[in-house]
Symmetry: none
Subunit: 194 residues, 4 copies
């Protein structure tokens, strides 16, 4: 008789929104942004096409939302990896990275693909640049503490290594020796006896 309470509506909205975002993330990651249709996302989410536009103003707005959330979600997690000594921090970071590659490869595939299509989605350029610089700065300090002679470029190299391994693991999938590389890098960067 009486309309739904604001709380009920908020919950319903949050749920629908979440389902749509999860479906979109899955499909964007699996098939790429361009190859994913709104109809497909709606079907995957189990809602009608039109509902999507109650929550996102366009397909690109949905993408933007996912990207922003992915980037900011990453930030929090990385903040948790910082340890007392630099070598442990590096170790945590490497372990986190390889775990992610094993557990959410599709998620990272999307991030990588979108990041490469920079021209079309200009906001990504700024975002990626800011993140990159942030990571390089943090790593640079770590390498300085470890007395590397050129910590800035070591930091850039380290980021590049992770990026490169990421791309290769995404392409070669089970054929890429993730475990071996993890061990190798842990030894190279975190071995106390070195």
């Amino acid at each position: 008789m009486s309309p739904k309470t604001p709380e009920q509506n908020a919950r319903i909205r949050a749920e629908s929104r979440q389902r749509i975002m999860a479906a979109a993330m899955h499909l964007f990651a699996r098939d790429g942004y361009e190859r994913t249709s709104i109809a497909g996302i709606a079907r995957e989410a189990g809602v009608a096409k039109g509902l999507l536009y109650n929550y996102f103003s366009s397909k690109e707005d949905l993408l933007r939302t996912l990207i922003l959330e992915a980037f900011s979600g990453g930030d929090e997690q990385i903040a948790n990896l910082v340890a007392a000594d630099p070598r442990s921090t590096l170790r945590n970071l490497l372990k986190w990275f390889f775990d992610e590659m094993r557990q959410r490869p599709e998620h990272w595939r999307l991030i990588t693909e979108i990041t490469l299509r920079v021209d079309k989605y200009a906001f990504v350029h700024e975002l990626a640049k800011a993140k990159m610089e942030e990571y390089v700065q943090v790593l640079s300090r770590l390498f300085a503490q470890l007395n590397y002679t050129d910590p800035l470029n070591e930091a850039r190299l380290f980021v590049g290594i992770l990026d490169g391994i990421g791309v290769e693991a995404l392409v070669l999938k089970d054929d890429y020796p993730l475990a071996a590389m993890e061990k190798f890098l842990l030894k190279k960067y975190c071995d106390e006896n070195k």
Copy 2:
């Protein structure tokens, strides 16, 4: 009006084909595969849309042809980089890589983008895997000659580094310090005094 000789026809065919491929490569690289239209390729090539289907059975077939050629073209060039001593070979390789990133970034953007869309274009998976293994083997031998303790993984790391720097340079464009990284890597891998 007069019937053409078989030789003339062959030449004409080769030329048209080449123009179409050049136009397609340019546009695929600049705008991405999905965002490039057959009409656009035909316009860029200065031919009619229909002609395209005399040479390629579909848009994807055209893509496939370009990818195959790009990969095999790379092979030849890399073969030329091999020098007498391993350190010079590494130096040539690094210099070639950084030159390519400076001169044909869009070309490599396409290769990278397509390579990431592995599921859709399954043939790429095999191709990429074969190339990767080939490169790793060659590099592995180089690192063995240079007495690295784990030459196989060093080779994988090296390939990963180039991949990663490539991705970052493509994303950050002029904001990425290509020159600094080139110098840094040349010192790290090719400095005789080390």
Copy 3:
């Protein structure tokens, strides 16, 4: 919480209904029937979309209601314009018409637009025809009293003039010399010395 009395309910109903109608009239007039959305009307009226369907069975029903009311509303006003002598009645009529064009141009734009879309909204045809004949009859009597030789066609002409000036004023807006035409027609039809 406490159950409302029937009187309260009736008042609430009347108010909601009125707000919806006012909002719809405003938007239909400003943007046209097709370009106005139910969502927009609800927003303008400050009610939920669903409520609209408690009072009107469809968008078209809402339109119909507005049209009927506009026509019958006009009747009342026009009845008040009748004066003792025919020339004064004509003068009142002209003044009322030009005042309306100045004060509620959008209202008349809607009436005109809808009236033209006769096929789609068949009920308008009958309505318009009935009104037209009624006006022509009244005017015809006026012109007969003023000893015009062909009062029936003079009446039709007079109605046509008002319609025509209405359309032109709606199209040309501030570029149409409403004041000059008002003066001109008053002189033509109501000048005692003529």
Copy 4:
């Protein structure tokens, strides 16, 4: 074997374009611009939806083309109505107008509807204003030659009359006494004995 000659193509294109324009004119006029779908136009024209976009960049572009053509077509015809003496010119004009209303009512319905929806299609405002002023000027000269005391406003009135009768004839259709009004106006404006 050989491709179509440019002449063949030009003819084919002109024909298709014409069929699409005729279909669009018909449907826009009958159902209104908003209620007419591209699919409907294509069906009426007997072509595929896509073909429409080979000739017009959008639905609005198609409308614009039709409007411009309708306005410029009118110009030519009206130029032919000018006669040696002003009374004959007026007679030609009135006859032309009533003939048009009898023969192409739907055409004029479209012009009127679009002209009223000025806000959305700003280019119409300018067009209509220019035409109106042009007609008023020509008529003003005619009325001056006929020694009317206020030729400018007489001209405006005359244009208004035609507009008004047009609107009413469009709405009332066969119920509007077009013939009677024609005779009445011819007598009023063109009777030599008056």
